[in-house]
Structures are given as C-alpha cells and as structure tokens.
Symmetry: C2
Subunit: 167 residues, 2 copies
Amino acid sequence: MKPDESRTVYDGKLVDVVVERWGEQEREIVEHPGAVAIVAVDEEEKAVLVRQLREPARKELLEIPAGTIDAGEEPLATAQRELAEETGLRGGRWQHAASFWTTPGFCRELMHVFFAEGVEEGERSPEDDEEIELVRVPVAEIADRLGELEDAKTLAGLLLYLRSRGL
Amino acid sequence: MKPDESRTVYDGKLVDVVVERWGEQEREIVEHPGAVAIVAVDEEEKAVLVRQLREPARKELLEIPAGTIDAGEEPLATAQRELAEETGLRGGRWQHAASFWTTPGFCRELMHVFFAEGVEEGERSPEDDEEIELVRVPVAEIADRLGELEDAKTLAGLLLYLRSRGL
C-alpha cells in the first residue's frame, strides 16, 4: 500500500513531517527511521532499566534501554549497540520479541523489541547529551512496579517478558 | 520542569513541531494534544477491537479503539465519546488502567488507557474519513493472538487487561 502523492512539509533533525494523499484523504505523517528497545536481564535475574529526563514528557521516565536505528542498520545490531552504549551490557542470549508501531495514527515509527538474557557488565559509552541512570529491578519485582512505568514500549516489553516467563 | 526557550518550527493540522532549549541542549519535539484508548469488553466476554488502514504503517492494523483528546476534554469523556463513535458501544463499568507516553524520545503524546467492561451495543457514528471494521475477540483467546498486534497501546492495554484478570 502506497500513497498517491507525498510532499515534505517539515525537514527536521530527527523527524520530518510529510503530507501524503491517499485517495481523497490527506494525511499528515511524522517520518521516523525506526527504533529498538531491549528487555535486558543479567545473570542475577535483574532487569536493567534506565532513568532519564525526557523533555517531551517534562519529567524523568523509567524505561527499558532503547535507541534509533541508523540508516542501513539491522534492528538487532542497533539493539546490541545501543544496549552496550547506554548500559555497558554485552553478550547474552538474544531473541526478537515483538515489533509494533508506537503511535500509528500519525507517526511512522516502528519499534522492535528484543529480549536479552544473561547479559554481562562492560564499559558504558553514552552520548554526550545523555544523562542516564541505570536502575536494576529484580525480575520477580517487575509485576509490583508496573504502576511506575509511563512509557509504552517499556510496559509492552516488560509485560511480554513476564508472560514469556510465566510470571 | 520546563524548557528555557521554545519556538514552533512546524504548525500542522494534527501535530506541531517545536524546538525547545533545555540548558545547552536543543530538542525537536512533536506536540500532540494527548489521546485515549479503550479495552472494551462486552457482556459476552468479547473484547471489541478495530481494524483500519493506518497510512503511517502503510497497512491495516488491529487495535483497541482510540482517539485524540479535544481541547479542554477530560480523558474519560474522550474515551466514552470515541468508543461510542467508533464502535457504537455504550455504558458498562469504566476504570482508568494506565497512562503512558507513546514515544517519549521526541513526542509529547500522553495516552490514557481505560478498561470498560459490560459495554452494550448501540449505533455507530464514525467520522467520514474513518473506515473501521469491528473485530470481536473472546477474552480467553487474546493471549493466543498477541502476535497479530502491531500497535503499542493495544499490546500494553490488552496485556494489562489480561494481567488484571489473572489470564
């Protein structure tokens, strides 16, 4: 399925906005290169989350590690790179858990979620503008802390993970 | 928490884009009025989902009913209005389930999810540009159909609902 016409109406740094014509409808769509997020669980059965200021929310949010796909990059490669950069975690057993649109009414961001179990500590190398606190939550305590989670990918990812473990 | 400066760089129909300065960082942020989504379950224990073309995804997606908050509207009122318009369902027992940011790295969309149980059939009044197919899924079968769901709010909302029911 493709639009009849498309024109760029905003050309930004991270996002662009296009207006597409689909038959008689015009749709305003935020373009995005796609993203990944990782439910990372270490050898001590702790999920590694990140807490950081999210300016769009105007508050700090507790999230699973995530990042934007670079041009031409495979989602799994992005996920392994972003997890290492943000948290230092490496290795482990990886599997694709789900891919979903974050907000498909107006935005072309497809999010790929991976589970990474048995990940090991390493050195972090966050980007200059990222101030990220690591928060380790025992897997057995996640279900009691769902109320703290205010991010869609984090809720979906952790709920899928709990279900995969029968928790 | 607030930015030091903000300027609008794109003024669209549904979304605007602003650039905010937070200290030394500039952030490009998609503004959005916020949204609601509803896990609606009828008296026959069927969840009522909607299937529609989502142009940003360039495919049809199966989702829980949802909509955008009008200026000044309470999220619960939006949810009850949108559910009635899209599906004809009315009444029932409502509760707030969760509120989360759909993609907080670059977008100011806060999504409020409600559970509505025991809803009853009524007349639909979808907007002109909405072609929406209703899909009723027995609650007991949702867990087997999670792989069909490619929308963040739908996964998060249904997984929270299953958990609330011990399913």
